[in-house]
């Protein structure tokens, strides 16, 4: 689903945020991306969502070399990547329903379909009773779940989350993680950046560790071995 081969990212100004990254994530796999602050976790996710482009090497998502996607095709790529942000990135002047509906409105779905899918998505994150509420009236955990509902509403094959449990208490964090596990179980590829080591090590998933812009450890090497077949 995701393949990095010798991918590097140098920001304008000359800082190397990622250097020679190699890994492969199989479809339906769930993995964590961890590392110290400034290690390059967010940068790696940005490369997958084409918010940034690799300076060297290749990033292949869903069989497509991202370097070959022109600027005007980027939106269509992003529709296949559900993104969850630490700071939620919600529209505060629109209701929960309208926020979650946005990806569907962008894709041009009919009113009827939008209603059905938005409610299904809100149901999955347990916020069906809040659809008329404005994000500002919700707790941090609830806002995070609105973000998740929006990311999965059009059923993307790939889900990226950047510090989704950033400042949530442990119980809420586990709750959010179990939502991700559910998606993984129905075949969605999930990659979660987090430095919440406690949480990660208690879960049975592959962990990619970044250190000073390099991939220093990959706990799930079995996927790397079968990588060539995808």
């Amino acid at each position: 689903m995701i393949r990095f081969s010798h991918a590097s990212k140098r920001y304008p100004g000359g800082y190397d945020a990622l250097q020679d990254i190699n890994f492969h994530l199989a479809p339906g796999e769930m993995a964590f991306l961890t590392g110290h602050s400034g290690a390059g976790k967010s940068t790696l996710l940005k490369l997958i969502a084409l918010i940034e482009r690799a300076s060297r090497g290749q990033v292949i998502v869903n069989g497509q070399n991202l370097a070959k996607i022109p600027r005007r095709k980027i939106p269509y790529h992003r529709r296949n990547v559900g993104m969850i942000f630490q700071d939620h990135q919600l529209l505060f002047d629109r209701t929960v329903f309208d926020n979650v509906a946005l990806p569907l409105v962008i894709s041009g779905l009919s009113h009827h379909e939008i209603g059905k899918k938005v409610r299904a998505s809100l149901d999955k994150v347990g916020l069906l009773n809040k659809e008329r509420a404005y994000p500002i009236t919700l707790s941090g955990g609830e806002q995070q779940r609105v973000g998740i509902a929006r990311a999965v509403v059009n059923k993307p094959p790939l889900l990226l989350a950047d510090e989704p449990t950033g400042n949530l208490d442990p119980e809420l964090s586990r709750e959010i993680m179990s939502i991700f596990e559910q998606f993984s179980q129905v075949g969605v590829t999930v990659l979660i950046a987090s430095h919440d080591i406690d949480l990660i090590t208690h879960l049975p998933y592959r962990v990619l560790t970044l250190k000073n812009a390099r991939l220093s450890n990959d706990s799930g090497s079995h996927s790397s071995q079968t990588a060539g077949q995808y």
Binding site: I51, R72, R78, L91
Partner: protein, 312 residues
């Protein structure tokens, strides 16, 4: 396919009215921006309509031109009267005014102040003049001009007539002045249209900046430029429409206020002129042009500023 089209149109309609809803949330700034556009557009539109009215008047005046028949010096008063009787029989002629040689001399003395100089002359140097006013057909200014020309040629060939002269100098001068005004109006229109473009462009630029976060989010979740551009284009459309309507209102009230005195003035010139406020064509041009300016102003602003806003 039909279903897809239906959804597509519905989506446009939604954004169309959504952008209107957004605008009416701050009615004061909507009103002020529209008023600026309206005033800028009212000025050239008003001048254009006044110019059009002037053309109508001058069409009248053109055909109302007088023909002066300068008689040969040898013509006696009796012979002149004979000619006048003959002319009175012609249907193309509405009014005849005879100025004898003596009257012409008196008039000249009175007007020129050269009385003493003329006394030195033994003989009266001025010819007698018959001033003829052609009758007008009630409808068509152009055919009037042709008829006047024809009449002129006829009169030229009458006995005792030395020179027949169509008095059109001042009409030509009026045309020249009107041409200058017309060019002025075109230049003014272009400048004010540019001003409207800038006003709308700047308003949309501010709207884009105000919604920067929203644009970033929409880009993050896969919104195309077209999708993001749409509400701003419709916003430009609404500004153009409201600006155009305000301009129309301003032009109509101003011209209504002007029409009474102008009609009083033209009445004294025996004109069958009546002030035309604004015709259908001009209205369509005004509103359509205004909407077009709104759309292109916002298009330019969106093209310039949308690319700068990218998620990081």
């Amino acid at each position: 396919m039909g279903n897809w089209l239906h959804t597509y149109l519905l989506r446009h309609l939604q954004v169309f009215f959504y952008s209107l809803g957004q605008l009416t949330r701050s009615p004061l700034s909507l009103l002020m921006t529209s008023a600026v556009i309206g005033i800028a557009l009212a000025l050239p539109t008003g001048l254009h309509i006044i110019l059009k009215n002037m053309q109508n008047i001058s069409g009248d005046l053109d055909s109302a031109a007088q023909i002066s028949l300068f008689l040969k010096k040898s013509t006696s008063d009796a012979q002149a009267q004979q000619l006048i009787q003959q002319l009175k029989g012609m249907p193309q002629i509405k009014k005849i005014n005879y100025i004898s040689r003596e009257q012409a001399l008196q008039e000249f003395k009175r007007l020129s102040g050269f009385g003493n100089a003329l006394k030195a002359l033994e003989k009266n140097p001025l010819p007698a003049v018959i001033v003829v006013q052609p009758s007008l057909s009630q409808s068509n200014a152009l055919s009037n001009t042709a008829a006047t020309q024809q009449l002129l040629e006829q009169l030229q060939n009458k006995p005792y007539v030395d020179i027949a002269q169509l008095d059109m100098q001042w009409v030509k001068r009026l045309y020249t002045i009107m041409d200058i005004i017309r060019r002025g109006v075109i230049i003014l229109s272009a400048l004010l249209a540019l001003a409207v473009l800038l006003v709308i462009g700047n308003t949309i630029r501010l709207a884009i900046q105000n919604r920067r976060d929203e644009i970033v989010i929409i880009k993050l979740i896969g919104g195309t430029d077209t999708f993001i551009r749409r509400p701003f284009l419709y916003t430009g459309f609404w500004y153009g429409l409201f600006g155009g309507l305000i301009a129309l209102l301003l032009v109509m009230t101003s011209l209504l206020l002007l029409s009474d005195p102008i009609e009083a003035l033209t009445q004294s010139y025996e004109s069958r002129f009546s002030m035309q406020i604004i015709d259908f064509n001009s209205t369509v041009w005004l509103i359509g042009g205004s909407i077009l300016l709104g759309l292109s102003g916002s298009w330019v602003a969106v093209e310039r500023h949308l690319r700068e806003i990218e998620p990081t």
